[in-house]
Symmetry: none
Subunit: 226 residues, 2 copies
């Protein structure tokens, strides 16, 4: 999942970005409203964390433009004040959630996770398919009763595939959701990651393969009905 973090105070932005990354998100961060708007146009983020008070463009304005351009990316507002009318106004503008500053970082994480899930219409933090089970909040994976340890990136990949199970996911889409900005173009990171993930979730010899290749299109994770 890829998150855009917009917050002008470096003292807040840095630790938050770090914590989000530690939770397995790909994070792009900026402190400038106009730049944020630009980035949001360039990429379809899974969640946007948006400070209201910003240099350049105001957070509200960024949200307004975003909605006007038809994007329905979940947005979490960061508000300095606790005034009710502010929150209500934010929600009516199309924000999905807000936090009052002085929040605990773990709470922000939990909310960003919840919003991310919502984008894919999943309401439970557990993703399953056949004998495979992934718990988004506990960050654990089991296959047929066997615990599987996945490196963060592989976990993120599996999570993304599961969120879109049954759908063919292109390399580009994977790249954009799993990795943040610095991705070198002509690289086979995705291939390699898929290869590693396949091996990792093949817990026993008689394991049905779940991740299928659609040549020229991408990958699908699908029930082995066939």
């Amino acid at each position: 999942m890829r998150v855009l973090l917009v917050e002008d105070s470096v003292h807040l932005r840095q630790p938050v970005a770090k914590a989000l990354k530690a939770s397995g998100f790909a994070v792009d961060a900026t402190g400038d409203g106009a730049e944020a708007w630009q980035m949001a146009q360039d990429h379809d983020y899974d969640v946007i964390v948006l400070d209201i008070m910003l240099p350049g463009l105001d957070g509200r304005e960024v949200l307004k433009r975003l909605r006007a351009s038809g994007r329905d990316t979940p947005v979490l507002f960061l508000t300095a004040k606790d005034a009710v009318e502010d929150r209500v106004a934010g929600l009516r503008l199309g924000a999905d959630d807000y936090l009052v500053k002085s929040f605990a970082i773990e709470e922000l994480i939990a909310r960003v996770e919840a919003l991310g899930r919502r984008k894919y219409e999943k309401r439970s933090p557990k993703l399953t398919m056949a004998d495979l089970e992934l718990d988004q909040s506990a960050k654990t994976v089991r296959r047929g009763g066997c615990d599987v340890e996945l490196a963060p990136q592989l976990f993120a990949l599996l999570e993304y595939l599961l969120l879109r199970k049954g759908q063919v996911v292109s390399r580009t889409e994977i790249e954009e959701h799993i990795y943040d900005e610095q991705v070198s173009p002509m690289s086979n990171v995705v291939d390699t990651a898929v290869c590693a993930l396949r091996r990792a979730i093949a817990v026993s010899d008689d394991c049905v393969p779940l991740i299928h290749t659609r040549r020229g299109m991408g990958y699908v994770i699908e029930e082995p009905t066939r």
Copy 2:
């Protein structure tokens, strides 16, 4: 929109129910956890507002059961205390939002509306014809409940034919849409592709042919009405 309100304190339940009704929601209210669970099973609510502290079943427990039974109804938690770990736990259980008691009623309304709206905003683009179904974004095709795997070019061809269903499409048009620019003039790529596509979507022996040739003109994809 139908809302289930679960809150044991009558002093809170009554005015909230009234306000929700005034905003145009159909409201069912109860103060008992077990009863709430029962009601949630009987009816597929658009939003559930759930107090954590409840007689009978605990709010958390209700949510857990709800998710376990596969319901993905949006849930808004009402928490008495402002303890961070409580909120985090709730969100991790699959709640979509929460409010700390002492909230303003208009804020609750705004949030319930936001949650309810979401449910009806999703749709994946699908092209269909007879028992054939093509999902453009998932890049999947089904024929009469059977998954069909199509190579990229065949997929593109079928997509194009479906976009122009009922119309006769010339070879040249197909060439121009499916193949970028350069195709050697005297080539039968299109014929070959159509042939392959016909075979691919003939999933069973008693399949009506959908792609018809118009001699000297091109191809049409049409309902077998005739």
